[in-house]
């Protein structure tokens, strides 16, 4: 009871002000909880209703729905269209929908023949009404009529139904205003900056929301999570280095531009596939620029300074890397090798070794694992590739260590697990973090009222240690909610993979999410000494422009796998009939 009373008490006992602050301290986590839970309900609770793109009519008259843009036809249970006939191979053919609405059929090395209208093919277009024969099993491809398509679109649950994203966004807006209010009170010297910055944030998120409404898209949960995290990040910035709030907002602007551009490109697979090559090239160029122009900051040469701006190329390369790695199923099953991508990854890994950026190398490695796992046609080959590449990286790293002493990384590893024994040197950041997390309690000391803010910038408390920063000022509840929010996006990606249109999107979303989660893991667990501190950013929260841009870019991939009806601007509405012949 007395603990509860203490909650409302200030340094001068019970005053109107102390009660006001206490109510504010309580309102923020409650609002945050509502925001996260409401978004979780939509993102994790949606019914996975398949989209039907065409029909296959068997000789028996049975109609089989074609529910993806890429469909594996075969005898095995995990095929998308299961044809349980003895003559049909386990993996027989792939039926792929093209952006123009047409279809192709590809033989993927089946024992039996693949024929269209009686002629054997390896890969050919199929028109509606054509008879497909797989080792003698005949079926006819039939379109979804305009009427059927319209019915289907109407019958599928619209995104956000029963859990209006608009209302969640209203809650988020209240959350942001309360946060700004407290910051204005605790950091009066930065008053104008705080009000303007939060005003811009609120303006941008509503513009994006209304814009999507105009495009008849109603799923805004993914963006809401990003804006929620950004609101906290902006608060950290206001507390630690208010002067950098505008920089963060500019980065957000560029990030959202990348997000929209990428999202629109991903609507059409043909466009996306074209983008791949450009992206792969851009990734290489960015790293080459980094190698030439890079400057050493905190031991890693991963920064470029141009004019007054500085950025980390490796952040943007993450987007290029995923685009380069994503692939359609037809390619996966016909051209079974991954070597091009392995070499690309090796190039990136090599650059990171030279640049001495261990954290980024770990992140790219996990991204590679996610992609390699999805792209390899069987588990054994996946394991082989992953183990091989893993060993290669270890070898390269060991060689690099032998050649030059990587003091920066070595020092950080030396402190790991022994932070209390060397609390003024190697364990400095982590011990201060735990101390401040404990000081913050469950509800925090108040925005702009912590101690870690004195360690912003050079001390990296607003980037590497941001989990502790948020715990101290916003409370442990808020810090944990940030993590829940990100983990939830991860679960959403896994859930929605089942109803994805193309493996390109599944790979993209899964890789993007894996990268975001592993960043969170490295950041948070580094701060609390579960893992060595690697200096990786917390998505959307850490103060850092390049990271902000890259996170928004990665978010586009997640947006592109959201196939709920009318959910995502990065997914074409599916109510166009397939009856163009």
């Amino acid at each position: 009871m007395s603990i509860l009373l203490d909650f409302f008490r200030g340094p001068e006992g019970f005053t109107l002000l102390s009660v006001y602050h206490a109510v504010l301290r309580l309102s923020l986590p409650v609002l945050a909880l509502f925001i996260v839970v409401r978004s979780a309900k939509s993102l994790l609770g949606f019914r996975r209703e398949p989209e039907v793109w065409a029909w296959l009519r068997l000789a028996t008259g049975e109609l089989l729905p074609v529910t993806h843009w890429e469909n594996l036809l075969g005898r095995k249970k995990s095929a998308d269209i299961v044809l349980d006939f003895a003559t049909v191979s386990k993996n027989h053919a792939v039926l792929t929908r093209l952006d123009d609405g047409g279809w192709t059929l590809t033989d993927i090395g089946a024992k039996g023949k693949v024929e269209i209208n009686g002629s054997k093919i390896l890969s050919a277009r199929v028109r509606y009404g054509d008879t497909i024969s797989l080792a003698g099993l005949e079926m006819v491809l039939e379109p979804v009529s305009k009427e059927e398509a319209r019915l289907q679109a109407n019958s599928r649950t619209k995104a956000g139904k029963g859990n209006s994203p608009g209302l969640t966004l209203v809650l988020l807006t209240v959350f942001q205003m309360l946060a700004a209010l407290e910051l204005v009170f605790n950091r009066p010297e930065a008053r104008m900056t705080v009000i303007t910055a939060y005003g811009i944030l609120i303006g941008v998120q509503w513009t994006l929301f209304v814009g999507q409404k105009l495009l008849k898209r109603s799923g805004f949960e993914i963006e809401t999570i990003a804006f929620f995290l950004m609101s906290i990040g902006l608060g950290v910035c206001a507390s630690g280095s208010p002067g950098e709030m505008y920089k963060q907002l500019i980065a957000m602007g560029i990030g959202i531009a990348i997000f929209l551009f990428l999202g629109f490109c991903l609507r059409d697979l043909e466009t996306a596939k074209k983008l791949r090559y450009a992206a792969a090239a851009a990734g290489i160029l960015l790293f080459l620029a980094n190698l030439v122009l890079g400057r050493n900051v905190n031991g890693a040469r991963n920064w470029i300074f141009i004019g007054g701006f500085s950025f980390q190329p490796s952040e943007l390369v993450k987007i290029c890397f995923i685009l380069a790695g994503a692939s359609t199923m037809e390619r996966i099953v016909t051209r079974r090798n991954l070597w091009g991508f392995v070499i690309y990854t090796a190039f990136i890994g090599g650059c990171l070794v030279i640049l001495n950026d261990f954290g980024a190398a770990a992140i790219f490695f996990v991204g590679f694992l996610a992609i390699a796992l999805l792209r390899s046609s069987s588990y054994p080959s996946a394991v082989l590739i992953i183990v091989g590449v893993g060993m290669l990286i270890v070898l390269v790293w060991a060689a690099a260590l032998a050649v030059k002493h990587i003091t920066h990384v070595a020092e950080r590893f030396a402190g790991y697990g022994h932070i209390w024994e060397d609390s003024f040197n190697k364990g400095f950041q982590q011990t201060r973090s735990l101390m401040c997390i404990a000081a913050g309690g469950i509800f925090g000391l108040g925005l702009g009222d912590g101690w870690l803010r004195y360690m912003a910038g050079e001390g990296a408390s607003d980037t590497d240690l941001v989990f502790a920063f948020v715990s101290e000022e916003w409370g442990l509840v808020m810090a944990v909610l940030m993590i829940f929010a990100l983990a939830m996006l991860g679960l959403f990606v896994v859930r929605s993979a089942k109803v994805a249109r193309s493996s390109f999107y599944t790979i993209g979303a899964s890789a993007a999410m894996s990268i975001l989660i592993v960043q969170t893991i490295l950041n948070v667990f580094g701060t609390v000494d579960f893992l060595p501190l690697t200096g990786v950013t917390f998505p959307f929260v850490s103060n850092g422009g390049s990271s902000m841009m890259s996170c928004w870019g990665l978010l586009a991939f997640i947006k592109a796998c959201d196939t709920r009806q009318n959910a995502s601007f990065a997914v074409k509405l599916s109510d166009q009939g397939g009856d163009k012949k």
């Binding site: 203490d6 909650f7 667990f525």
Partner: protein, 457 residues
């Protein structure tokens, strides 16, 4: 698509790993946050390099430490020296373990509100020790190295836990220049909790505790001592030939021949089991302090080693605090209270901690305890009647542990068989010569001081 969708489990594993890690961290937060928050130098709870704790008081209300005064430590130099190891020194060579353990309770830290509702002053930590008794112990030790411990075996309160040598924390010695004569050797060690000594003959109480249960009729047996016994070619000797004697005289004579015979009849396992029951090789935790482990290992012992171990030599080592608790267990009929140093903490005028009495596991049987009590009482009456305190029946045993050529450790341990003053004690003086002549007077002074303090309460 299906098989590709399934492989997004990779992302699921990462997400679960993240959630699992966060859950683990939250659990750790609730377990350890009060330690993290009082981390040395934390700007949240330190002002000018001193913990914002308030006061530390002894059992009579004497201020031992106050974060609100400039010198922080007690007014009286005697008290400062007598309580040094409890409070720690400024340089951190002697850590303030008790203070650190309760710091968060003193400034009113709670895990819900963090330091937001913290009291910057007014914390009070009450210790069970008496500064007055500590001072008597220090004077009685007279600069010798060793330790004096007294505790109430019914409640667990430690009244005295003195460790020597000591110094004034306001005027610490420079060990580079001030220790030419070795007087500050091991001064940073809190010997009562963090040392382990060869016990010598006080260990015969352990041997007897085991034997009384193992060998029925032992109490009535008679033993013949010729002054020495040869076991495995190894000589076990007594100070003189004790002749034929009863068990209680064998203890009073501290007859090595009789006890080696008892040990051999009883065997290794029974003695090891008794040492285990007394937790001699374990550490106990009390109020932020983890005691040092003793040693009792007969795994490679031949018969002569067993005989030697049974009289407190061989590789035997006991921690003073632990052995004092065993004395309490004899006094308490087989079990004692677990010792503690902090009776309570206050923050902002409200109690934030109150100690409670916990019992140790059983260390010996009722019957063995009763017999030992009788034998130890007889021992005092026969051998060191000068130690006896009117109104409190002192039961004790002395020891002279051979640890080197001429540097014997003098030991003396026992308890008061008294409802009013249920005190167990141990006195150890390094290079102290004979236990009875060196330690018994110290024990008498300190026990008398304890009784005076208790009478005053």
């Amino acid at each position: 698509m299906k098989s590709i969708a399934k492989r997004t489990f990779f992302c699921l594993i990462l997400a679960c790993f993240l959630l699992f890690g966060v859950l683990t961290f939250v659990i750790r937060y609730f377990l350890y946050a009060d330690r993290w928050v009082s981390f040395t130098g934390s700007p949240h709870v330190y002002t000018n390099g001193r913990l914002d704790t308030g006061e530390i008081l002894d059992r009579s209300g004497t201020v031992l430490y106050s974060s609100e005064t400039k010198q922080a430590y007690a007014e009286s130099q005697t008290v400062r020296r007598a309580t040094l190891h409890l409070l720690g020194d400024r340089a951190g060579n002697i850590p303030a373990r008790v203070l650190r353990a309760y710091a968060s309770k003193l400034f009113g830290y709670d895990k819900l509100n963090g330091t937001a509702a913290m009291e910057r002053s007014g914390g009070k930590l009450r210790l069970t020790v008496s500064a007055q008794v500590q001072a008597v112990a220090m004077q009685a030790m007279n600069g010798r190295k060793g330790t004096v411990g007294v505790y109430n075996y019914k409640t667990g309160e430690i009244l005295c836990a003195f460790s020597g040598p000591t110094f004034d924390p306001l005027d610490p010695p420079d060990l580079e220049t001030d220790n030419a004569d070795g007087r500050y050797d091991g001064v940073y060690i809190y010997r009562f909790f963090h040392a382990a000594y060869t016990p010598g003959s006080i260990f015969k109480l352990t041997t007897l505790a085991a034997a009384l249960d193992q060998l029925p009729g032992l109490r009535e047996e008679r033993f013949t001592c010729t002054g020495e016994r040869i076991i495995n070619g190894q000589r076990i000797s007594c100070t003189k030939a004790h002749g034929e004697q009863s068990l209680r005289d064998a203890l009073a004579n501290s007859c090595n021949c009789a006890f080696s015979e008892i040990a051999l009849r009883m065997g290794k396992d029974a003695l090891s089991a008794q040492a285990e029951a007394e937790r001699l090789t374990e550490s106990i935790e009390l109020d932020g302090i983890t005691t040092s482990r003793g040693k009792f290992d007969l795994s490679d012992a031949a018969d002569n080693d067993l005989a030697s171990a049974a009289v407190g030599q061989y590789t035997d080592l006991v921690n003073p605090c632990q052995y004092m608790v065993f004395m309490g267990a004899i006094g308490g009929g087989g079990r004692a209270a677990e010792p503690y140093l902090v009776s309570g903490a206050e923050s902002g005028g409200k109690q934030s901690y109150a100690a409670g009495t916990k019992e140790t596991p059983r260390m010996l049987s009722d019957e063995a305890a009763a017999t030992l009590k009788e034998l130890m009482r007889h021992n005092v009456q026969k051998m060191y009647a000068s130690v006896d305190i009117p109104g409190a029946e002192v039961c004790a045993k002395s020891g002279t542990a051979e640890v080197g050529s001429d540097a014997n450790t003098a030991t003396f341990a026992g308890f008061l068989d008294s409802e009013k003053y249920p005190l167990a004690f141990i006195v150890i003086v390094e290079e102290g010569g004979a236990g009875s002549s060196t330690c018994a007077p110290i024990a008498r002074d300190v026990l008398q001081a304890c009784i005076n303090v208790l009478d005053g309460e």
